[in-house]
Structures are given as structure tokens and as C-alpha cells.
């Protein structure tokens, strides 16, 4: 099968203006020359997607994956390089893109179809399918501004998959919506695959890549780091995340550095407070156990732990040295326990990385990068990242006090 998307040597430069001079006056005064910084969002990207293939794009925020999708769909023009496509693309670049809040669901379906280049007559023939898929029959004549974000996502996805595109481009939109709908979307994506359609998918969910992609590409700071099998790409993605998190700390536990295996991490486990459930509630304790093995005595040992969120932000980076713990000589097998008294996080899956190295970080014995997950489930409706200890007090003018 031939390529349906060809990306050859594509670079994209953005100009970041120090001051946005949008007025004519400023343009005239500065004679069109405004101070700006150049920023390369993409550098020399080569990627081919064959017909019927599903390719995942992995990358942290700002890695250029969305810019690449925008170039593929024609929204942005690459600074250099060439992109070609065969067939019609239906793109879902953002939740509710192309939806107008004042229009009803019905009107938005036609609007969206038209934006994708389909005629009203064609949308008429698939209208019922779209509505059935989106599961919002009852609200189809309500203004979209009254929809929940999940309903938005469902409607947008339903249009994109039902207009019968040759190429489907999806940017993280599957992350929204409830679980059953996400499953349904994945089912539909798999049906697309069986029909020999091509899919380009941006995500930072490693599981998604493993589950549905034939190949995956990893972007890091605008460079294409890896293109390969999903498993390989996911590992490479974690490497880039880890590198990023550890850079400022200058830990040197970066992947790629050869490990001596003088101390080996044999196993690790996340011990949840309630063994019956595989997750934490906010501010519950958790224990991370690391089992090591040192065939011969090793004198200079530091155990390190890093916790990242899925976007690649380092939430915790510490080691026994920083904590003032002298590990002493390590010999034979043993166990290190990192006990976190409280995990002040709200919803999310967090990636745990463990490492063993010498004091000056010169010698790296072993590391286990982002193979363990810490899942926090937030039962309340508070949103955000951190579970702040929060108390509210309300004092009324009558002097009566209520505390919550």
C-alpha cells in the first residue's frame, strides 16, 4: 500500500513577538520590524503513513505534535519541507472545534459537515447515524452551549467518524467524555482500521498507543525522536519525559546512560492502603517498595525516586542522599520502602521512576523508569491537580459562626 500522508523534511518556525503589535500605528512606527524571537516548533520531520495504518504521535506538551497535525491538515503552512496527502481528512483537533455554542446540535452537525467539505445532502443521509452514535437524541435541538463537555466531544466525534473520511486525524479528544463513550470511540476506530482507513492520532496515553496503533512516533522539542513499534515508542516517550524531569535536578539518571548493574532493581511495587482497590483517594498514604540485589558489596549507594504526571511534569524528585539517609554498604538482596504519608493529589495516573546510583551520580547502577503507576481517584467534584487541605469558614453579621 502506498503512503497516504507524506511528510518530508518539515520544519515550522514560529515568531514570538515580544509585544504583539496588532495595530497599524505600531506597524507604521516600527516600519514592520518588530522584535521577535524565533522558535522552531518542528525541525526536519520525516514521516510516512501508509494506507490503512494507524500511527500514534506521542510527545509532552510543547513537543510539536499539535503543530504537526495542524500542518498535515493545512491549517498551518510549514516553513520548509513538503506534506502531501491522499484523500479527504476529517480532523478533530480540539474539543468542539467548529461548533458554535449558539446553534443547536442539529445545526452544528450540518455546520461541521460543511466545514469538513461535505454537502447538506450527504449529511442528510448520515444524520441519523451521527445522532445515534452521539447518544444525544433528546438534546439534538438544544443549543450546544447548554451541552456538557462530554456531549460536545461526543457530537464532534460522531460527525468526524460518520462523514466517511479516508483519513482521520484526532488530537487527544478521546480523553474527554465518559468511559463507556471512550470505549465506543475505540470500537469505532477499530472498525475504521478494519475498513482500511488511515488514522493519525495524538495522545499522551501510552495505553492507547499500545491498544490501537500500528506504529508510533515520538516528538521531543520539535524533533522526531523515534518512529517504531508502539512498545518501543512508549519506552522512548518515557525516556524523553524522564530526561526532561531530571534535567534541572542534574541527577544524571537519564536513560541511555549505561547502567553497571552492580546493584539491580529486581522488582518494585506500589502498595495501596486498601489492597482491595488499586487506587488511592486524595491524601491517602501510599508505599512504594523497591527490591534490589547486589551480587557483590557496593559501598556508595543512593536510592532515588521520581514521580511524574502524564504531561511529564516532575511532581517529586528526591533520593536518600537529599533526605540525609546513609544507605551504607549494600550487599545481597534487600528492600527499600518509600512511604509517602499523604499523596495530596486529585485525579490522575502518576508515573513512578526508581533509580540506584552513586553519590556524585557518576555511576548509575540501575533504573526502572515509569514502569509503575500510582492512580489517584477523586470521589469529590473538586477539580485540579493538588488536594489542598482546605477549610472554609463563613462569618455572618449576626455573629453566628458556621464552620465547614
Amino acid at each position: 500500500m502506498g503512503a497516504v500522508i507524506e511528510i518530508e523534511g518539515v520544519s515550522k518556525r514560529f515568531r514570538l513577538y515580544k509585544e504583539k503589535a496588532h495595530s497599524l500605528k505600531e506597524r507604521v512606527i516600527k516600519l514592520g520590524r518588530l522584535p521577535y524571537e524565533e522558535f522552531w516548533a518542528l525541525r526536519d520531520i520525516d514521516l510516512e503513513v501508509a494506507q490503512g495504518e494507524t500511527v500514534g504521535l506521542l510527545g509532552h506538551n510543547g513537543s510539536g505534535k499539535s503543530t504537526l497535525l495542524k500542518c498535515v491538515t493545512g491549517i498551518l503552512l510549514p516553513t520548509s519541507g513538503r506534506i502531501a496527502k491522499a484523500g479527504r481528512i476529517a480532523a478533530l483537533l480540539e474539543l468542539g472545534s467548529g461548533m458554535h455554542p449558539e446553534l443547536t446540535g442539529r445545526e452544528n452537525i450540518y455546520m461541521n459537515g460543511a466545514l469538513l467539505g461535505f454537502s447538506r445532502a450527504h449529511i442528510d443521509t448520515i444524520f441519523d447515524d451521527i445522532v445515534a452514535f452521539s447518544e444525544i437524541e433528546t438534546f439534538i435541538d438544544n443549543q450546544v452551549k447548554h451541552y456538557s463537555s462530554g456531549m460536545y466531544a461526543r457530537l464532534a466525534f460522531a460527525v468526524a467518524v460518520n462523514v466517511d473520511p479516508e483519513i482521520l486525524v484526532i488530537d487527544e479528544v478521546l480523553a474527554v467524555g465518559d468511559e463507556s463513550f471512550a470505549r465506543k470511540c475505540i470500537e469505532r476506530i477499530k472498525q475504521f482500521q478494519r475498513e482500511g482507513r488511515t488514522i493519525l492520532l495524538v495522545t499522551h496515553q501510552a495505553d492507547m498507543v499500545r491498544q490501537i496503533c500500528d506504529r508510533a512516533a515520538v516528538l521531543d522539542r520539535g524533533n522526531l525522536v523515534t518512529v517504531g513499534a508502539p512498545g518501543e515508542a512508549v519506552l522512548s516517550f518515557r525516556d524523553t519525559l524522564l530526561k526532561r524531569g531530571l534535567d534541572p535536578v542534574a541527577e544524571g539518571v537519564g536513560p541511555g546512560a549505561a547502567t553497571t548493574k552492580q546493584v539491580r532493581i529486581v522488582d518494585a511495587a506500589i502498595v495501596y492502603p486498601d489492597p482491595a482497590r488499586k487506587h488511592l483517594f486524595p491524601s491517602e498514604p501510599v508505599t512504594i517498595r523497591l527490591q534490589y540485589e547486589a551480587p557483590r558489596p557496593v559501598v556508595d549507594v543512593v536510592f532515588a525516586i521520581n514521580i511524574h504526571d502524564q504531561a511529564g511534569n516532575l511532581l517529586l524528585g528526591t533520593n536518600t542522599d537529599i533526605l540525609g539517609i546513609d544507605v551504607g554498604t549494600v550487599r545481597g538482596s534487600g528492600e527499600v520502602t518509600f512511604a509517602l504519608d499523604r499523596v495530596p493529589l486529585l485525579d490522575g495516573v502518576y508515573l513512578v521512576s526508581l533509580g540506584v546510583h552513586s553519590h556524585d551520580s557518576g555511576i548509575e547502577y540501575d533504573h526502572r523508569d515509569q514502569r509503575d503507576f500510582l492512580e489517584v481517584l477523586n470521589p469529590s467534584k473538586t477539580v485540579g491537580l493538588v488536594h489542598f487541605p482546605l477549610h472554609v469558614e463563613i462569618t455572618t453579621s449576626h455573629g453566628a459562626e458556621a464552620a465547614f
Binding site: 497599524l24 498551518l76 472545534s97 467548529g98
Partner: protein
């Protein structure tokens, strides 16, 4: 669960370049291919504009109605310009002007005001200014109903032989509008005060066009120079067909001697109006090609600059 109708067993489609921008003619072809989107966007503009208003489309009639009342009072009552059936004369010129001014204003802001679409969905961007013109045309059609009503009310006969020129004049107007709209919409992304500058320019342009005063009152002094304003041939064609008088006799209310007011060129025939419109059509077409070229150059960075 819904099922997908077609499947892809058909031979692969040829590759097409995404990373090169089409030339003006290809652009025009793309716009044609996306004509359904144009209709959808016009529909959207109209729906959103009147969605939460009680009077709905009546609003679009109030604007010319107010103009009519104000100009009637100023020019007939206070300045006593003496033009009979002044309301009809005024409407004949005001309706095309309104289409021009309102649509051009909306079109110029059309790309910046649809930023969320431009940064997230690909489609030929020229559609946005064109949709503003489309919405303008719908309003124009509604306002024409007011004119019809006025003609019926006064039992005023238009010039039947000149009526076929109205579609041509309207076509000319839309072509001119398209040229300016496409160009200014693109420029406005980079220099946002284009739209404010335009407001001032339109104000001056209005008074430079024979709408509230007859063509000959100025043309008799400056000659055909007046035709350099591309709106002049359009507006006077409307006036010729609807107002249907080249000279009128004004009889002052106080009973003074009647005087003749020259409104339109007396010897100008069908051919004269057509020729003038033809010139504007040729110029507008060239300008439109130029505007599409400018648009094409500037469009590359729309999604970044917005």
C-alpha cells in the same frame, strides 16, 4: 449502533500537496467546491444575529428606515431640496450602499472574529469574507421589500426598460465588494485597526457617492471624474431603473416659481449605464484576482497571527 456505509476498497487517491498554497484560480475553484460551507456560514451568521432578539429580521429593516426618516427630515423639510418622491430616490441609492457598507465592515472583521474556526479547522478562508457578503445580500433582499412597499404605496412606476440592468448592477456591486472584502479581511489579521480605518473611509465614501444628492449636482461641476468612484455607476443605475427620472420639476410649497432639478444625465441611454458597469466589472475582477493573491500570501500565517 450506526454503521459506516462505504468502505475503502477503491484504488488509492492521488497524493495532493498540503504544504503549497494554491494560486488565485485554484483558490477560486476551492471556494466553489466549498460553496455548501458558504451557505452554511451565511445561515449561521443570520441565525446567530437574530437568535435571541424578539424582533428578529425586523432589525435589519429598522436601519434603512431610520436613515430614510432622518434624511427625509433634513433634506426635504429643513434644506428643502425639492426632489419629489425623495423617499424613493433615497431608497434606490441607499439599499445598494447599505449592502456595500455593512457587508464590507463585517467581511473585514470576518477572519479575526472567527479565530476559533481559523485556528482549528481547515477550509478555504476566503469563504469567511464571502459569507459576510452573503449575509449582507439576505438583508439586502429584505430591505428591497421595503422599497417594493414604497413603490406600491406611492403607485410609483419604475423604468421597466432599465430594470434588467439591476441584476447586472447588483453583480457588479458584489464583485467589487468581494475584491475589497477578501483583501481587507486578510490585512485586518495583521493590522487590526484596518476595520476602524474602514469605518472612517466608508463615512467619507458615502458622501462622495450620489445617494442623498442627485448625480448631476456634482457631475455637472466635476464631469466624468465622478465616475471614478466605482460605486457611482452602480448607484445611478439603481436610481435610473427605480427612480426613473433624469430631470424633475420642483414646486416649492410656498408657491414660488417651479424650478428644474437635474438628477441623472439626460442623454444617457441603456448602453451608457452598461458601459460604466462593464468598466467597473473589469476593474473589480482584476482587483479580486489581486486580492486573492494578497490573501494567499497573508493566509499562511493566519492561524499564528490571530
Amino acid at each position: 449502533m450506526a454503521s459506516i456505509s462505504g468502505s475503502i476498497d477503491t484504488p488509492q487517491r492521488p497524493l495532493s500537496e498540503v504544504s503549497t498554497r494554491p494560486n488565485p484560480l485554484q483558490r477560486a475553484a476551492l471556494v466553489w467546491r466549498y460553496r455548501e460551507l458558504l451557505v452554511s456560514l451565511v445561515r449561521k451568521e443570520l441565525k446567530i444575529k437574530y437568535k435571541n432578539s424578539a424582533l428578529g429580521f425586523v432589525w435589519s429593516l429598522l436601519n434603512p428606515a431610520l436613515y430614510l426618516v432622518v434624511f427625509y427630515i433634513v433634506f426635504q423639510v429643513f434644506l428643502k431640496n425639492g426632489i419629489p418622491y425623495f423617499a424613493i430616490f433615497l431608497l434606490a441609492g441607499l439599499l445598494p450602499w447599505n449592502l456595500y457598507g455593512v457587508a464590507l465592515g463585517a467581511a473585514t472583521a470576518s477572519i479575526t472574529s472567527n479565530a476559533s474556526l481559523v485556528t482549528k479547522v481547515w477550509f478555504p478562508r476566503e469563504i469567511l469574507p464571502l459569507a459576510a457578503i452573503g449575509a449582507g445580500l439576505v438583508h439586502f433582499a429584505l430591505q428591497t421589500l421595503v422599497l417594493f412597499a414604497a413603490l406600491l404605496l406611492f403607485r410609483y412606476p419604475p423604468a421597466w426598460s432599465y430594470l434588467p440592468l439591476i441584476p447586472l448592477a447588483l453583480f457588479t456591486l458584489v464583485l467589487l465588494l468581494a475584491a475589497f472584502s477578501v483583501g481587507l479581511a486578510a490585512i485586518n489579521v495583521y493590522a487590526r485597526d484596518t476595520q476602524h480605518l474602514l469605518e472612517l473611509a466608508l463615512l467619507a465614501w458615502f458622501w462622495m457617492t450620489p445617494i442623498v444628492y442627485p448625480y448631476r449636482q456634482v457631475a455637472d461641476r466635476v464631469g466624468s471624474l465622478f465616475l471614478l468612484n466605482p460605486l457611482t455607476p452602480i448607484v445611478i443605475t439603481f436610481q435610473r431603473a427605480i427612480y426613473n427620472k433624469t430631470d424633475v420639476v420642483s414646486r416649492p410649497k410656498g408657491g414660488g416659481p417651479p424650478s428644474v432639478i437635474h438628477v441623472l444625465p439626460p442623454h444617457a441611454d441603456w448602453l451608457w449605464y452598461t458601459r460604466n458597469l462593464g468598466i467597473v466589472i473589469v476593474i473589480s475582477s482584476l482587483m479580486l484576482l489581486g486580492a486573492l493573491a494578497i490573501f494567499g500570501r497573508l493566509e499562511d500565517n493566519f492561524a499564528e497571527e490571530i
